[in-house]
Symmetry: C2
Subunit: 387 residues, 2 copies
């Protein structure tokens, strides 16, 4: 290897996103255009400045990125659509990072877009194919997470109330974020009393289907100060995929998230104690509790006590998902990973408004995506940023 050292430093110089929500009247192009224009305006760049563009989508159909970019005047450069299920947005971001880092261009834009409301597939119950052994056994995504939740309760005494508090926190945060799909406070009682999806996982512990888009402009760090006085440096970019479930020794611990986070810390030359703010993949309450542990934000088995300590709260020692996360802000699949970068870009510049984490200088974003029979998951991505 040894070449990674030769890669250039890359900085984020602008970001934009739509409000997340249900917009049955809006196309992928309309959502993407709004986010792309906002990101380009924020960065102070023109369409002709863009040397590479990537777009993540799961349900947007072919050449969705080209359709979006055409609307904002970007054409005639290198372009790529990427898909890695819920990690599609982070994958698009990483592509743009790699292009700039490897000297293929100086300025790149990464977008993510999803219109789950208008998709004929998204959010529908799709019968598993005959060779999907897990699916034939009923192991859909909520079922997997319900099993992990039950096991976490058994192993570590984590309580239903502790899991519910993750959703309370994230909805509290969402009420302060104008980009959040949900703008309502919930109590532990509301959450535990909501319809049971897969025992012990109730409806208000599962993220919604959402529509939305986000975009980020990246630049070679050596020229970033032409565009902004506060470039946000990409300190680590990691993309991985899951290993076989039969190798999984501990159902309370995501090994793929742990490995990706450790690789990211090594690349950034820092540890979890150095992180000021985290946006992580809380597709379910149990996922956030597990990711506290596998990302090293607290010790193994301590996730329940960490949420009780108010550590991950907005005013806590390490705020997690100040945006409202997937649970409250919403989860337009491929938009999520890019929107996380927009969120931390605002945080590290001190422009996050009511969800500002005071004095935040270092941030971590984390997504995992893609239920694939026999694998822990399809894709995992962790990024670390510094200002």
């Amino acid at each position: 290897m040894g070449m990674t050292e030769a890669l250039r430093d890359v900085a984020v110089i602008g970001g934009g996103m739509t409000v997340f929500g249900k917009f049955p009247e809006r196309t992928h192009e309309s959502l993407g255009r709004e986010a792309m224009l906002a990101a380009m305006k924020d960065a102070g760049i023109k369409p002709k400045d863009v040397g590479f563009a990537s777009c993540g989508t799961v349900y947007g159909g072919w050449c969705v990125g080209q359709r979006m970019l055409k609307e904002v005047g970007i054409s005639d450069m290198e372009f790529l659509n990427v898909e890695n299920a819920c990690a599609s947005g982070a994958s698009a971001f990483r592509e743009a990072w790699l292009r700039v880092a490897a000297g293929q261009c100086d300025i790149a834009i990464a977008g993510g877009v999803e219109s789950m409301t208008t998709s004929p597939v998204a959010g529908k119950l799709i019968p598993p194919p005959p060779d999907d052994v897990d699916g034939q056994l009923g192991l859909t995504v909520p079922m997997f997470f319900a099993l992990m939740m039950r096991r976490h309760m058994h192993e570590y005494g984590t309580t239903p109330e502790q899991f519910a508090r993750v959703s309370v926190k994230n909805h509290d945060n969402g009420c302060l974020n104008p980009y959040s799909q949900y703008q309502r406070r919930l109590t532990v009682e509301d959450i535990l009393a909501s319809r049971m999806v897969c025992d012990p996982l109730s409806l208000l512990q599962c993220c919604p289907n959402s529509d939305g888009a986000a975009a980020v402009v990246l630049c070679a760090n050596e020229v970033a100060r032409r565009f902004t006085s506060t470039p946000m440096v990409v300190a680590a970019s990691i993309l991985g995929s899951g290993d076989y479930l039969h190798k999984w020794e501990d159902a309370t611990f995501s090994n793929m998230s742990h490995k990706a986070a450790m690789a990211a810390y090594e690349m950034a030359g820092i540890g979890p104690k150095d992180i000021d703010v985290v946006e992580l993949h809380d597709a379910f309450t149990v996922a956030e509790i597990m990711h506290y542990e596998d990302l090293g934000l607290c010790s193994k088995g301590e996730g329940g006590r960490f949420i009780d300590s108010r550590g991950p709260w907005l005013d806590g020692t390490l705020p997690v998902n100040p945006s409202g996360g997937l649970l409250s802000k919403g989860h337009p699949l491929a938009a999520t990973g890019v929107a996380q970068v927009v969120e931390v870009w605002r945080q590290l510049r001190g422009g996050a408004g009511k969800i500002q984490v005071s004095g935040a200088k270092t941030a971590l974003t984390h997504v995992m995506g893609g239920y694939v029979s026999g694998l822990e998951s399809g894709a995992i991505s962790v990024h670390i940023f510094k200002i």
Copy 2:
């Protein structure tokens, strides 16, 4: 910029593919597994050697690559699905190239897969959305190419027989390639008498819908000789996208193909006269004639005379599409760009059997993809290889 010089040389060390055809009983996973296993066997690598994998698909659905790789024992490494319409396979190849070139890993695998037969979308007439001005005017893909064909006839006196001869040549070649969907010789008369799709473009001048998969193993050139005595070096890798149609000055000339080819020649440090064999995107007969010209294989307006000269025939001065091309070998969208690399890998090693181009040492592959309203096309890719 300047960083490109710091990228490592990358070589192809193995390739594999399925026969192209109509396989309604086969899944994407089944097709992909066959190609991946063949490529890994050809390269002499094990699943654990793979540090990065990419997969191109248009209609395969989310995480199709992960589903394929799982079947061949590859997991727990960086993985990306990409989509760029008919250029998806070339885009997947370029991703693998860039990962190795930028030192992210030493060995990577790139795949492309499509099952158009089983897709509920592929090959169906989809009504254009209301904001697709071209589509609302009836400008579907064959219509565009029929207009270009008519204009080429008007400007340069190219004859229906000359266009038909492209299909004769490619079907002749397909009869010699066991991987070709069609194994039948056609005459100019057969082709001109076939059903009219869009005047003057008849059915046997249009590529078919196909199923198939292909895969290629890439390796840092500095270690390639551990695996093969004949590594095929990637001399150029270019991916671009189209410009706005309203800027298009000449309907007989693909500016995006020309620009990509010129960039590839510059990167490889050679010119079209140095190329020994070409696999190009003959989605329609007129496309092959135009690409002779825009890739610089003959002069502008001379495409008709070039096919008459037998230059691009298997025994000609510069064989084009010895595989049979899209017209005869078939066009399983995302598989095509990867399969082109497998074809030239066999050519440059002298293992192409009855379609062997004698003494071939340098090859060019070309795909373009994605009809997007208002743009010439969505994506273009040119690669050059040397042995």
